[in-house]
């Protein structure tokens, strides 16, 4: 077995695993005697196992270099190799060093830093492929949190780069809902869904008239329960006589359409009166009901129904 080949191979795997991470700067290449490295090689198969690859080509095949090679011993690049969780330890130490370096920079008020979703514990464990405990990762998050509070106008590039490594791929806090407004004609638009129905509502101030797909409320829904569902948001906030509803509903059945209208009316009402949101939430008009029909499974008559038992 050629040690050089093995070393390069191992290094290739680790770079593929950790492509988002730059190589750790603290690691040094220390040529020492060659005896120990083969035994540790088989036990661990990540980047942190030992050291940077040895470039054998740089050695001339002279007698002198052969003598040197005989004395070479591979030692771990990072001193935290023997901690058992070298990547985690390196990360923690580097963040601590960073904080020590910039701890005098002014910070923003607590809670005023840009909202960033850090990697979850599970995501971090996958990225370092080490068994890191939640509490230990909590220490990293604490440091990240502190670094994130450095005043945005003064954040060093180095800190930004370091923080980048711990961010989730997609920051959910970047996704800010577009603020709806009442248009110049006084209409507020709201969209609601339930089961397979979709409702779009335009709400204007008026006397409590309702038109759904061009039909009155009583023509659109035969059941009084459905009629109440459709304008439940207005009823719960005592606004029935103050707004006119003009709605289009598509898809689904009668109940689905009525309850899609509930949500759509509530959203349009929140455009007119944003302060009603808590009241509407208490009335159950803000959250979309996520339940949909359960899929049919093979071997079953419906989603769960089993065929009738037949004796042999």
């Amino acid at each position: 077995m050629k040690p050089s080949v093995l070393l390069r191979h191992v290094n290739g795997v680790s770079t593929a695993l950790k492509c988002t991470h730059p190589p750790c700067k603290g690691r040094l290449f220390r040529p020492v005697a060659s005896k120990l490295f083969s035994t540790t090689q088989h036990q661990r198969a990540t980047e942190s196992i030992a050291a940077s690859p040895i470039d054998f080509d740089s050695f001339q095949s002279t007698q002198l270099s052969r003598d040197i090679l005989r004395k070479v011993r591979v030692v771990p690049a990072s001193p935290s190799y023997f901690t058992g969780k070298p990547d985690f330890t390196d990360n923690l130490l580097s963040l601590q060093a960073l904080l020590r370096k910039y701890q005098t920079l002014p910070v923003v008020q607590p809670g005023h830093a840009p909202r960033i979703a850090w990697k979850t514990h599970a995501q971090y464990k996958v990225s370092v492929s080490e068994p890191v405990k939640a509490a230990k990762y909590g220490k990293i998050v604490q440091l990240l949190h502190r670094l994130n509070h450095i005043h945005p106008s003064l954040v060093p590039e180095e800190v930004l780069e370091a923080l980048q490594l711990y961010k989730r791929d997609v920051n959910p806090y970047d996704n800010v809902a577009v603020l709806q407004t009442v248009d110049p004609y006084g209409r507020a638009r709201g969209v609601g869904r339930r089961k397979t129905s979709t409702a779009t509502v335009w709400l204007v101030e008026g006397e409590g008239e309702v038109l759904i797909n061009g039909k009155s409320l009583s023509q659109a829904f035969g059941r009084i329960h459905d009629r109440e569902s459709a304008i439940w948001a207005l009823k719960a906030t005592k606004r029935i006589g103050r707004y006119n509803v003009w709605a289009l509903v598509r898809g689904g059945g009668i109940t689905g359409q009525a309850e899609a209208l509930t949500l759509a009316v509530a959203k349009a009402l929140m455009v007119h009166e944003p302060a009603l949101k808590p009241a509407l939430r208490r009335a159950g008009c803000v959250t979309r009901d996520p339940r949909i029909v359960e899929r049919k499974k093979p071997g079953k008559l419906k989603a769960r129904k089993m065929p009738a038992w037949v004796k042999r």
Partner: protein, 476 residues
Amino acid sequence: MPPSTCLRCLPIRPAPSPRPVLLCHIALPPAQTAAFSTTTNLSAAVAKKRPNSHTGPPKRGVKALNIKKTQRIKSGRPPAPGERKALRKRIVLSNTNALEVQGMPDLSDKNITDASLVCRVVGIPGLVVDSLRAVEAFKPTQGWGLFRRPAALVRKETLQLGRYIQEVETAEGKKTIRRVVVGERGSGKSTLLLQAMTMAFVKGWVVVNIPDAKDLTIGHTEYGPLFNTNPTQYVQKTYTANLLSQISKANKAVLSKLQLSQQHDLPIPIQSNISLDRLADLGARDPDVAYPIFQALWAELTAPSTKGAVRPPILFTLDGINQIMRYSAYLSSDVKPIHAHDLALVRHFINALSGAQALPNGGIVLAATCESGKPPSPTLELAVAQSEARVAGAEEVPQPHPYKAMDQRVLDSMRDVEVLRLKGLDKDEARGIMEYYAASGMLRERVDEGLVAEKWTLAGGGVVGELERESVRMRI
């Protein structure tokens, strides 16, 4: 682990004959331990195994599934013929549990044009109730049985009808007003007809009402051709006899004062100065002579008034006009469907509605559409749209579809009839009727602006039938 028999031997209370526990285990066979117990079911006889008990899967060729159909137990006698229908058509006009509304005015000949009564519920006088019942103006689906006594909301259209009646009475040369009442289901069309009849009875008019035109056209009453008519007309003599009896009963007070004034060619001999209610009764008694007598009665009613014999105006109403604006369910002798306008009674009404037959003493011809289970009548819909466009003075009157057959007879009959469209109540009217519900004790909520607005919206914009349904009928 001790054996179970021994555990069973352990007495819960002292046994009648104390015996060492160990001895029981050694000396007695397990079967006798039952006597030791105080419970009865252990000593009871073991149930005999039934051959098809569930000891295992059934044998081959044996039916495993044994579901017996439950036998319907017949108790009592079956309902007599017509009993169920009578129950279905039963009209209840009073609810003794409902409160009597204090200060509710009655409709009278003085106040039918009183604009201050709009948005108020007005009672129907007791004598008129009997007449209305006789002409079947009350419908079983209406909510009369929910309240103490029959009463109806005076809405703007009701006031309009009152003005029509006044107009007819005061007009020079005896005016005839012809209207078709249209509106969505539950919008109060039949009730408006009832209010018109109430006013007519109060005013001393003669009221002729065809309560449901469906009865004439769906083939549920006998029919026969009328001789010497071209195209052939068909007479429904039993229905006519029934109609005559209704006319006689409902208008007795008016007709008993009127006497025969003309010569009629009738199949039965009649007294020359017979009163008109007795004439109608004669026709009601014998279906064979019903139609000629109906014609004679109509001729008498429409005879020009003289000083000696003043003829009152007539209110001629029909509910469910969309049933007669199409082919009927009857077949002619050459097995062709008969157009509803070829039925003699229907034609009689259509002539009055279209103005082909005048009412020389004045009167109102009113028809209402019926939206429940309505048969398709596209021509009537077109005629209504045309009439509305004409009245509104629209530049373009809707034209018939070029590639669809339209019923020309229907278009002709509706040519210059005006349409009275009933929409939902407005908020004030809704409040008026809801206060009546509350005063009757049938709506147990405070009637305020919020409640009225809510019910008004839920009723699809104040559709009165829906308003009643959700305020009174659906009360939890």
